[in-house]
Symmetry: C2
Subunit: 346 residues, 2 copies
């Protein structure tokens, strides 16, 4: 957690950062969205205009081509091994920028300034960087910790309900991994009206749950796999959505993934039925309906590519109850298809 700073004055933080490093060494990455809604916080901070790169927004640009654009930009602007890349945006930007920085001249420092709820509670912290490749989510990337992460709740006011829901999916996951108390708080969270102060508290709790796990296992050799709860299914949904050009937000995919993987938990680990139905109903009620563009067998096929898999099959984290999780469970084809039925409506 020592590299994560919660702030209500991001402008000051950036000023200090640029003062410390010198503006010759600082480069900033935005996408068209973060530039439009957040650049005002960066004006008059001392950033060199020629050191700003703005990529097109959207997960479709989370590609090797975007990474090449960043490398070309850094080279032509004379960046050296002591330069700093400041990534301002959602998870796509912090993932791409972190990866580009980590491989430029064998690694330069980078700072993440997440501007979406999703990136604040998940993507920008923990040191996972990467891009999509051959239609597979985060297939290429590396583990590399950001030098600093700044979380400012003022960015949240530019987000619409769907963007809040996207971050909320990861928060629910953290709650499920943590405790019934944490989970209850999240089930009562008001997604209609942002109470900035209350949000900052909940974000801080969510970040802490993740940070404790990441510190214990930064490279996901063991317990960090728990943070993939809901994600085996979520990544399959996102790959299918990408292929069908019927986009789904990451948090929505995670929320649906939570339903399916809780169903597997109920089937295999006796996760309490009462909790299962409460969470399922809450998710299906909170999120807009998403017509999944492929059938269960296709989703199963996508899951075969999941990074956590080995020869034993498709790897899941499953829950005995809220706060009690077990990594490295392998489910059969039939169990998975059964659980997928919970989110597919013919």
């Amino acid at each position: 957690m020592s590299n994560i700073k919660f702030t209500q004055n991001i402008t000051n933080e950036i000023k200090h950062l640029i003062d410390d490093w010198g503006n010759q060494r600082c480069f900033a990455l935005f996408d068209t969205n973060s530039y439009q809604y957040c650049f005002n916080y960066f004006e008059d901070c001392g950033l060199n205009e020629e050191h700003i790169l703005t990529l097109p927004a959207g997960e479709a640009h989370k590609t090797l081509e975007s990474v090449s654009l960043i490398w070309n930009f850094l080279i032509t602007r004379g960046a050296n091994r002591h330069s700093l890349l400041i990534n301002v945006g959602g998870g796509t930007i912090t993932d791409i920028g972190g990866f580009a920085a980590s491989c430029f001249k064998r690694g330069i420092a980078f700072v993440n300034i997440p501007t979406t709820l999703l990136a604040q509670v998940d993507a920008s912290i923990g040191g996972k960087t990467g891009i999509n490749y051959m239609g597979l989510k985060n297939e290429i990337g590396c583990f590399s910790q950001p030098y600093k992460v700044f979380i400012d709740n003022r960015f949240l006011k530019s987000l619409n309900r769907n963007e809040l829901l996207s971050g909320y999916g990861e928060m629910l996951k953290h709650g499920l991994l943590s405790s019934t108390e944490e989970l209850d708080e999240l089930l009562q969270m008001d997604l209609e009206h942002i109470d900035k102060k209350r949000y900052l508290e909940l974000i801080r709790e969510s970040v802490e749950i993740k940070a404790v796990i990441v510190e214990e296992d930064p490279c996901e050799e063991g317990i960090r796999k728990a943070l993939n709860f809901g994600h085996t299914v979520a990544h399959a949904l996102e790959s299918a959505a990408l292929a069908a050009k019927s986009p789904i937000s990451h948090g929505m995919a995670v929320a649906l993934g939570i339903v399916v993987e809780l169903k597997l938990s109920e089937l295999l680990m006796h996760f309490p039925q009462g909790w299962y139905h409460k969470i399922k109903d809450h998710i299906l009620h909170s999120y807009p309906a998403y017509p999944i563009p492929v059938d269960q067998e296709s989703l199963y096929h996508y899951m075969l590519h999941d990074k956590k898999n080995d020869e034993r099959g498709i790897n899941f984290t499953l829950l005995m109850k809220p706060g009690e999780f077990y990594i490295d469970n392998f489910c059969t084809h039939d169990q998975i298809i059964t659980a997928l039925n919970e989110i597919i409506y013919e």
Copy 2:
């Protein structure tokens, strides 16, 4: 050094490796040269034929495109996070393969089996991986230690004199960083006739000099910069050679770089003139003449892109005497041009 194994029976080592990991998890990378001259050692080792990828040989293929080919190969053959990539070849192959493995699914294990003298004494050990990019040497890459390195002196018999000379450049560098005794041994090394046993001893000594430095500073934040002795100039020579399509071997570039950087050492650090002339004469006598395709100013311009540089200028390691080196020296334009005159013949 614990991950480096010297052997005279590489076939047995590979067999054990494939037995341990299971042939489903093992993938092998060759280039057309290493495949032609070395594949016989891999026959009947249990390697799955469909798990072998052969890239075109040569530094010109040390590109992002080659890395993509490796990623595509791994994905289509069903590699997972527990797979192993075995890189068989010279430094180009171990650099590309190491980088591709380190970014595939955020990092899989890789083994280096260097088949050239250069790769055995330098490129395959120490955890530097990477590719050339926009005409700049190793501009993109990461630090990532190989799971194992196997060094077998039997590969040396397939090498011609130029290939031996290429490795010899790095050995001389290690000797200069180590001691007058080590250096004397190397100045007497017979490059006409390979005494396999003697070579293995000298290779082991060379590897040990590097390994001690790498263990102290794996990510080149300090003392490891010493291993770049000769390389600020060498990389400029190689970039110029690449642009002019007039190839120079890495070790030849390093040998010429040693002459220039020893001259700078003589100018700035009072490196003994006697030693300087002895080493310069030995290098110019041992290596074929190389007509440098650009002038001193162009070489100077290439040096401005060196990864070790910062705002203070072009960074050199310089020597007070054999075995006594100082990192982070910055030389002026005129000093560099003067020293470059030592290797440029009009």
